[in-house]
Symmetry: C2
Subunit: 720 residues, 2 copies
Amino acid sequence: MEMKKVAKCAIAALTSVAALTAFAAPALAADNNGYDLNGKGVDALSQHGGAQRIAGVYGNAKARNVILFIGDGMGDSEITVARNYLHGVNGHFDGLDKIGQPGAAKETGTGQYTTFSLGNNSNDSLMAKDKKGNLAGSKTAGVITPVTDSSASGSGWSTGTKTYNNAVDVDVKGNPQLNLIELAKAAGYATGNVTTSEIQDATPAVLESHSTERACYGPQGKWDGKTDTNGDGKIDPATDGNQGKNCLADQLKVNGGIGSISEQLLDTRADVTIGGGSKYFNQFGLDGKTLWDQAKERGFQTVQSGDVDGFKALKEANQDKPVLALLGDGNLPTKFNPSVATKYSADKDANPTVCTPNKEWLGNKGASLADFTDKAITLLENEQKGKDKGYFLQVEGASIDKQDHNANACGQIGETDDLDRAISAALAKVDLNNTLIIVTADHAHTSQIVEAQPYYALSTVLRNADGSKTTISYGTSDSPVYQDENGDAIDNDEYTQGENGDANTAEKFDGAMGNMSHTGTQLRIAASGPGASRVDGLTDQTDNFYTIANALGLAADTDTQKTLSENAKVAVKKSKDGKYFAEATGFNGDAVLSYKLIDTASKKVVAQSVDKTPVSGVRVATTGTTTIAFPADFTPAEGANYTIEVTGRQSGKTVKYDFIRQSGTSEKPGKTDERGNETIAQGGVNKPLGNTGSVVLGMALVAIVLLAGGMLVKTAKKRF
Amino acid sequence: MEMKKVAKCAIAALTSVAALTAFAAPALAADNNGYDLNGKGVDALSQHGGAQRIAGVYGNAKARNVILFIGDGMGDSEITVARNYLHGVNGHFDGLDKIGQPGAAKETGTGQYTTFSLGNNSNDSLMAKDKKGNLAGSKTAGVITPVTDSSASGSGWSTGTKTYNNAVDVDVKGNPQLNLIELAKAAGYATGNVTTSEIQDATPAVLESHSTERACYGPQGKWDGKTDTNGDGKIDPATDGNQGKNCLADQLKVNGGIGSISEQLLDTRADVTIGGGSKYFNQFGLDGKTLWDQAKERGFQTVQSGDVDGFKALKEANQDKPVLALLGDGNLPTKFNPSVATKYSADKDANPTVCTPNKEWLGNKGASLADFTDKAITLLENEQKGKDKGYFLQVEGASIDKQDHNANACGQIGETDDLDRAISAALAKVDLNNTLIIVTADHAHTSQIVEAQPYYALSTVLRNADGSKTTISYGTSDSPVYQDENGDAIDNDEYTQGENGDANTAEKFDGAMGNMSHTGTQLRIAASGPGASRVDGLTDQTDNFYTIANALGLAADTDTQKTLSENAKVAVKKSKDGKYFAEATGFNGDAVLSYKLIDTASKKVVAQSVDKTPVSGVRVATTGTTTIAFPADFTPAEGANYTIEVTGRQSGKTVKYDFIRQSGTSEKPGKTDERGNETIAQGGVNKPLGNTGSVVLGMALVAIVLLAGGMLVKTAKKRF
């Protein structure tokens, strides 16, 4: 990379700092017209735990396990639509309606919760710059916003922190907030993350990463790692794909950031991860290897798109051999073929729609969401057998939302059915005396059950299981723009929708296919098992974090979270091929580390992490060993003294490690671990240092062109 | 009335019988496509209690008092809309959100309930006839219908019986079902019924009447008793007004029916009734007197439209002096002036709507819904002081629904505020250790909180109390038809809306004013106090009847209700002016009586009630004395023996009373009550009978032209 480009990169990073710090917009002056403004302002709401409605009202019951079921976009209306169709208007779901129902468990609860967020920050707006050169997206982060997206919403229950739409486990200033899987692992629980969407999509992403932008799927954005997007005859991660517009530059590893959602998934290292989005792991990491190869190297049992047999064959899951099973390239196929909402026609009443099964649905082969759930629980139970602590598992029915966006009634109904059966699968395996099951949604959606076909809005008339008819109005489309499954606008003539509900064949929708809106109504939360009663009454989405954290005894509040890094340790090592690096362990209260390598004599900083923004720095390998690679041009002088200072960006905990000096040892020199890495004794060094290896890491203003696997990895042009 | 008209009347009545018995449509064949039809069919659902979801799961706690707050049309979305605007997105309602919130009472509950109905039966469809001559409306009664109206919904919680849209406390066959005020009175409770709507509107009507059609406000339908509708220079109840299209003919007293909603209100005789709809009491009863005059004669303390001082002066309420305070001619004025939903415009985002206070709102003079509630509780508490049993009170915030229909955001918000404050007023007065407060809605409604103004639908952008903006989409209008506040379609050029939110000034709405739809989603129910936990989980609207009935120890199931008439008694009396009549008491398990007057010797029936349809017959004066007038042409022969048989139409209980024969007495002859009526001794008579008086009652094929107050009362032309 030429220096001109490096300089641009630095400017972009600095601009981003401004953007992130500007997120904390001042609370707007309220003109309350004589009515009570009894809510909090943005400054209070944006704090960790600041949006709780029942703070301090903790349920006392402790659970061994917690399973959180999320129907994405499954408001009360979506539940009723599906119940009407599948079981009759007076029918009930065997799974979904059982959770929270008194009598089915010793402790149950049902209530409503609010889901608002703190600002909109779409990719497009974040990329745009205002007159002062600030990223325009920052204008709307930190503003109370009645309608949430899935990422702000998921961040709310996963971290307890209210944030802006588009944020994944970062607050309105971009600071990473510890999530339930990080905290559960720190407390000794096994963990799982299951979905029918791309595993990088917002709802699963909030359990595996911290990202200022939800679309930052991989190091090259949303590229599939195989398509020669620009048609230049080469598969080139620097020029193909769309990484330049999907990630904040500072978050990319090439710029010293903590990495994309997929890369962080490998760092978070849940025991069980099942979903879609396989193709994004074909992207290339800093080492030039695909993310699939990285996963394998790091011990993951991998199952790629279409390999249902591989999924079925999974027999164990643990920190040595975590499961990463991504059974589809994108979102998984829906259970029903799509129905099409159209304008008023008498024919719809005369011949109501009956949904038809989708041949591509993985459930036909034994890989439904219920099968995923059954598998995940089996693996997690096996892993924790005989242990005091059980597991935390999230299961998402993702495409209720996606098909509601598409005004596709059959799609959303089939997905609700899939989720209901997943809940039944869980109920068949767990003991509600020691397992808390929570069922809720991240936000409500468009579909309304109306008296008759509306005149203006799109609608579908369905024939219910009891022979009656449900008329569904889809009235919230903000424009007739076609959008893909990720919510990105695309040209109408490209717009299509296939058997899995993804975009595919535009023509047949005859211009009637808009993208429907999330809605901002309070919605249902239900729970059965120890701690379930905490969902009673009116709560906020962020209360759900505390409900789960409390049931499992996790570190819920910020101060307790900081103490998780109390016993953090750092050591400097040298690999068999002579590369020097540091290893950090025990930073369990942190998601990101920063470090400084200091020449003791001159007090000069000879190397350091990039700390420009909250998502710069070294991503913590959750409850594992975090490797801090030193710059390739770092050559310790023989006999010179160095200190490495490693600081947890969340906990503030700093651990120092002095080496290569002549006095004092606290550790036996020359100790070699199972990978052949030799520990450099604290306070001393046992061998002369040589200039070996070429460890690559992002340093301030340092970016390195890396030849890997025959492919040139460049930073994206658009972004820098 | 000439005989030709009488004959037509009889035919209409018989046709109605066919219609009513046809209500029980056979359960439709279900094509469940492999999915569970785990709900019940229509036959089971339409039984009393048949739609309960938690039958048999009774809360054990008993309450002294129950207050049921109904926000008409107040779904979760409507609650959130109002909270956002009034208190901020993160704010809370001091009253509404407190009910059901753990900690605020020893027992609390929150949950969701289903609200479906069993068919549509609008006035228009009921009036139309199919090819066989049956009323076409009957086609859709008895069909599972996902979206309820307020009358089916109210009937559900008031009686425990699922029924068709348009039904007021009658089942799908038209059979009256006992309601909570009837049952509470039978059990010794004081009762109250408070609303901001016309007191004849569906939600209050379900506590005061049994009507096959919700629009059957008075004997002359929806007439105001004063307008010369047909412009013939006369105020004529037979030709002015619209009685012909608002009531089933058989239900009208002139045809021997149980009477209109307003007339039955006087029979039900709650201790406290407060609302609007004063003008309909200007209609004329069978005796030629106005209903206001009838009320006064029957001991009611009356407060008519506009008399706020009269309302404030009310000091007591009991069965001797019940309160009937109707403070507006129609629906009461709303708290805020209306806002107008319009199509997309950037200006709405730039200048969000701030609601303005309505000068006409009665709350400005101390007669808000909160004031009504405070007054009702004060009167009822005073009445029951020192007694074991307290009261049942329903309070409705009616115009949330009405203004949601009008796409009037400010209107619906102001009414939600009014209801919230009414709940706070109740909380300030009652003890939640002995009082159960339930807050819910009859159905959800149109308004959706969306991300941005939709392209097609009407919308309003509001400035919230916290300075943020709520964008509300109104997307369910089925057509751009203008409708009045009763849901009747009217000509566009007549369409108007005034300060009280009623129809008034069409022009300013510029064609953008549709009538929005109820929605069929499950919705929130919340409760605090003894028995509150019974609303947890998923229930049906009809479960709410059992929750209340159980908390108060009322006769909930049909068999127990029948036993309430076990001690029924009948006596025959003669008035001071020589009119013979019967009095029935103790028919507490009945709403309607039938009778036969039999000449013992000839066994000929000499007079009888009209029993053609379930709403024919004699309306029971709830827990009071029901007068059964004999026909004017009934002249008992001296010394002849007669038997009157009175049968409770709901309980099946028959009581006989023999009189004017020579042997056997069970009662002292010649006993005279405080009104000067002389009891005719059972088994004997003490004076020769004369042919006096002109008691008018409906008998089969007998209708009497009545000259009253100089006005000719005729039956309506259209109907007969």
